[in-house]
């Protein structure tokens, strides 16, 4: 039933059923979330069991003759015929619904007002804020503890905890807790955070950097991912979490990493990295040196990508296809966007120099400009900005292309222009964490790539 977990069926059924009745303790909720996060088969089974329990409840409550079933089938059956009588029946139903809507108008108005507030750049007042937004760009959604959904979060907004979700490869979000601890998420990431004296964060997926101030005795910062739990007293580190593994790279201080699948712990000191995954040995490795070359591994699957991953066919290698995307700054514009994390097997940082040169290999349906972006960080992992270039494109008659850009071609991405003074003036000497590419054409470009390659210089 599960890849990493094997709760017996009685225990699992009991957990699901008691969840449906709102009877789980805090630790049981954590356990259930962990199980759901860890195994697709359990997620599927959870949905099936929940559906089954609802069917059973409906039958027990109504003896299998509930009004909603008769009502639904009457509507469905009569609409099939589209006879006048049935349409009148639906209209009568709609009239009843309309009356009910009027009765509920205050309630609904209240709801809509909240949504409008969330969309008007107003900064909501949070009575017990625990942190403040100190930087952001790209598309983000914040869901507060009390259910508020806000798409237009802005710098200076004070938050009392909740979930922040980066929706695209160019998303970036920096949060500073009241004690000065700062966390940054970038790319398509999802982070839940709270602070009731002890900071607790949950990185569901994506990349996070943290600079943590010394925490109170006995109340370390706890960061959970699907595969690991990090205990932090005060240090700087990077975390990358996806479904099968969590990678932790420590820049200063010490982080304790506990692997969720077996509870095994390891302390990770400065300049070391560990990968927590059920199928890998939990061991720390020293991070040594830097490299100036990198090549994407689209062939290894969709992990750490943004876009639609396409398996190899007889005609094409594995490809990553761009998907339609509306930038927050210009919602009427449709871009075709894809993105990739920049990693290598040894976790050695990938540094850019003045001779750095990017080449992108792929295919397109139309002839159009290709833009290429990079997200960079300083040596200690702090976010340094996003830069982008318009590529030189060589395309053949069948649509295959090679697009290229040299580091001097890159300029600060317009979406972070407001933070110009805070960010690096140039990507030279910085470390690249992710890349993305997009087209802006009148018709869908069909942009798909097979590889991105960084070399140390044009002549290498």
């Amino acid at each position: 039933m599960s890849e990493n977990y094997n709760p017996n069926e009685l225990e699992w059924d009991d957990l699901v059923q008691r969840h449906l009745n709102g009877e789980l303790s805090e630790s049981e909720m954590e356990r259930l979330a962990e199980l759901l996060d860890g195994a697709p088969s359990l997620r599927k089974d959870f949905v099936e069991r929940a559906s089954w329990e609802t069917e059973l409840a409906e039958v027990l409550r109504t003896g299998g003759k509930n009004e909603s079933r008769d009502f639904d089938s009457a509507i469905a059956g009569k609409l099939e015929t589209r006879q006048g009588k049935s349409i009148r029946f639906l209209r009568a139903m709609l009239a009843v619904a309309a009356a009910a809507i009027l009765m509920l108008s205050t309630l609904l108005f209240d709801s809509q007002s909240k949504l409008k507030i969330a969309n008007t750049n107003e900064v909501p007042v949070k009575l017990d804020s625990i942190a403040q937004i100190t930087g952001l760009s790209g598309s983000l959604i914040w869901t507060g503890d009390r259910g508020q959904i806000m798409r237009e979060v802005k710098v200076g907004t004070e938050l009392a905890g909740g979930t922040i979700e980066g929706l695209s490869p160019d998303s970036w979000f920096e949060l500073r807790f009241n004690d000065g601890s700062a966390v940054t998420i970038s790319g398509a990431s999802m982070l839940t955070f709270s602070d009731d004296g002890q900071k607790r964060l949950r990185l569901r997926e994506g990349r996070m950097s943290a600079d943590v101030s010394p925490q109170p005795d006995g109340e370390p910062m706890i960061i959970q991912t699907r595969t690991a739990t990090l205990t932090v007293l005060g240090t700087s580190f990077d975390v990358e979490a996806d479904l099968p593994a969590t990678s932790v790279s420590v820049r200063e201080g010490n982080v304790r990493v506990t692997r969720n699948s077996d509870g095994m712990e390891i302390d990770v000191p400065a300049n070391h990295r560990v990968v927590a995954a059920a199928d890998q040995e939990l061991e720390r490795r020293q991070i040594t040196g830097v490299v100036h070359q990198w090549k994407s591994r689209v062939d290894q699957g969709p992990d750490e990508t943004f876009g639609k991953w396409l398996a190899a066919t007889d005609a094409d290698p594995p490809l990553l296809r761009a998907v339609a995307y509306n930038p927050k700054e210009a919602p009427h514009v449709v871009l075709y966007l894809l993105g990739l994390g920049v990693r290598n097997d040894e976790a050695t940082p990938v540094q850019l120099n003045s001779d750095s040169h990017f080449e992108i290999y792929g295919k397109m349906e139309v002839e159009t400009d290709i833009y290429f972006g990079i997200e960079v960080a300083y040596e200690k992992g702090d976010y340094a900005g996003k830069f982008r270039a318009k590529c030189i494109v060589e395309q053949d008659a069948s649509g295959n292309f090679v697009a290229s850009a040299d580091l001097p071609d890159f300029e600060l991405d317009p979406s972070v222009a407001a933070f110009k003074d805070k960010l690096a003036p140039s990507p030279e000497g910085l470390f690249v964490n992710g890349v993305w590419s997009f087209t802006h054409s009148e018709t869908p470009s069909g942009l798909r790539i097979s590889a991105v390659e960084l070399t140390g210089g044009i002549h290498e």
């Binding site: 009745n21 003896g63 999802m190």
Partner: protein
């Protein structure tokens, strides 16, 4: 002139509305399931879905053609669920938030809707299977699913230990589910 241009705009809009609303109403059970896993209470889930349906009726024109009606309705139910939580408790705990996110992801990934016919077949089979179990087993199920009692209360009502209630529920549900699956296989 194509055939669509012969349909008056008002009739076309009504047709679209009827189609969307019918699909939405057909998802009711799936939506109750979704609301229930987020709210932990059957009655509250029904209330949330009812309120969501009123929003669906009022805002059917915002449905984007070519996308999933179930997913669209689920997003509306989610807002109603969050509002219900807001009314009943001051703040969600961290564990609740994390679990809500996990549950939401599971439903987005795996929930699909059944046709009205499939649902009817299943419900009839289920009703017949429930009729076949012993009175005591039925009382266990009703205490849990109709009266929404906890294990200790069921134990007190039926003179059983908590562990016995837990095991009885598991066993009876499994028995009914097996019976339903057999009936559905036979009916095919």
């Amino acid at each position: 002139m194509d055939s669509s241009s012969e349909i008056p705009p008002k009739a076309a809009d009504e047709g679209r509305r009827d189609r969307i609303l019918r699909s939405a109403f057909e998802c009711r059970e799936e939506l109750v399931t979704y609301a229930r896993v987020l709210l932990g209470n059957y009655s509250a889930a029904e209330d949330a879905v009812q309120e969501a349906m009123l929003v669906v009726v009022a805002k059917y024109d915002q449905f984007e053609e070519g996308t999933s009606v179930l997913a669209w309705c689920r997003s509306i139910v989610r807002i109603e669920v969050l509002r219900a939580k807001q009314r009943h408790q001051r703040e969600r705990t961290f564990a609740q938030k994390v679990l809500d996110d996990a549950v939401d992801a599971a439903f987005e990934e795996f929930q699909s809707s059944r046709t009205a016919h499939e649902r009817e077949l299943r419900r009839d089979a289920l009703a017949q299977c429930v009729e076949q179990i012993s009175d005591r087993s039925k009382r266990v199920l009703e205490s849990r699913f109709v009266d929404e009692l906890g294990y200790p209360q069921i134990g007190e009502r039926l003179s059983m230990s908590i562990e016995a209630v837990r095991k009885a529920l598991f066993r009876v549900k499994k028995q009914v589910r097996k019976c339903v699956e057999t009936r559905l296989r036979t009916a095919q």
